[in-house]
């Protein structure tokens, strides 16, 4: 079941126009085509950014920045590339620029501590809640919160790898392109991210 707050797939009328056609129109300066493209992809970009930085207001601004960069870079986009991979590559750059800036501002380190669980305000909404049968909702919302809290403790690279693989369904090559790293690095990050996530969740379970 799709969690509440998750955007439905893009509207059927808009979905009829393939991305590639919209991109070609955008490359000719058609801003209306670009708005259609934005409406279609903004949910995924916003979800990705929000899951990376765990801050709704900044996620909103950064998503805007992503699409502004997309608009500027669209003339250079080549049809043989996959648009979603390219879009997430830009999202990756915007998020990491933000994290770097935040690191400089706070004079901290870009590791698990930057986005530690302690940084998240108690009761803050880090992911949309689900609407399920009350008994299932109780169990599942707890699980969702635990997973989100555990994801927040991973370092940015591990968290992004998990999100791209499990949530966005990217294959290993696409992840490597988005994150600008080797396939081996992707495998290693996935392995350790899963191990760490598993360890965090089982520790929490034991503590309960």
């Amino acid at each position: 079941m799709a969690p509440a707050g998750a955007s439905p797939d893009a509207g059927s009328s808009e979905q009829e126009i393939p991305d590639q056609e919209l991109i070609e129109a955008c490359q000719k300066g058609d801003t209306r085509a670009f708005e259609t493209l934005v409406t279609r992809h903004r949910g995924k970009v916003y979800a990705m950014v929000q899951n990376m930085i765990k801050n709704e207001a900044d996620a909103w601004d950064l998503s805007q920045e992503v699409f502004l960069k997309v608009w500027k870079a669209l003339p250079k986009f080549e049809a043989r590339a996959k648009f979603s991979t390219w879009l997430y590559r830009i999202t990756h750059n915007v998020v990491y620029d933000w994290l770097r800036k935040r690191k400089i501002d706070s004079a901290g380190e870009l590791d698990d501590g930057v986005l530690s669980q302690a940084d998240i305000a108690a009761g803050s909404k880090t992911s949309p809640s689900m609407t399920l049968r009350p008994d299932h909702a109780l169990a599942n919302s707890e699980l969702g919160e635990r997973i989100n809290a555990a994801l927040a403790t991973l370092n940015a690279e591990h968290r992004e790898t998990i999100l791209l693989r499990e949530v966005q369904g990217f294959d290993y090559k696409e992840i490597a392109k988005v994150m600008d790293c080797s396939l081996g690095t992707v495998m290693s990050r996935l392995y350790y991210a899963r191990k760490k996530l598993q360890s965090l969740l089982s520790d929490e379970k034991r503590n309960d």
């Binding site: 998750a6 699409f67 500027k72 997973i147 693989r165």
Partner: protein
Amino acid sequence: MKKETTEELFVKWTDGVLSSDEKLQLDTLRENDPQIKADLEAMKNLAQSVKDEVPSSVEPPYGDFFNSQLMRKIDLEVKSQHPAKKAERWWQSLRWAWAPAGALALVLSFFAGHKVSRTTDGLVSAEASKTDSVAGLPTVYFTGKALNAEVISDEDGQVSAIVVNGLSAIRDDIDFVTVSTSEDLPNAYTSSEARRFQ
């Protein structure tokens, strides 16, 4: 077996993308270490939970505002790259006619001056005759594209010369005393000049 290879096998098994060769390798590992099977199962369950619990798409709050804000920024971006042309005054739209009009005015002035000087010299010119004013119209020389004029004067300003380049060559057979009317002149010009010389 190398650590990297093991990690890759675990990751691929969790994602269900093992090749048959890789599957054989992993089976060997699992036979040697029963704990591996439990770990792999746990990892698979975790991956599925993340998939189920974390939405892949979340509409940003105030989606319409999101779009309008973004499109406003893009409009500014487009305008900064291609500054809009300023609205032109009506006379600015006639800029193309300035050069020929200026040349025409220059030529007319030239002939007007010529007529006056001849008259003051006491010579009888045809255009001075009130009886045949139309026949006394000057021939007009139209300019080429590269018309330019230069004023040369002495230091006292007592003597000056105007050099006009770009005018068509003046034919040798033109008698400036008894000038003839060009057949090519527009009627409006002919009548206007006739009135002027009356």
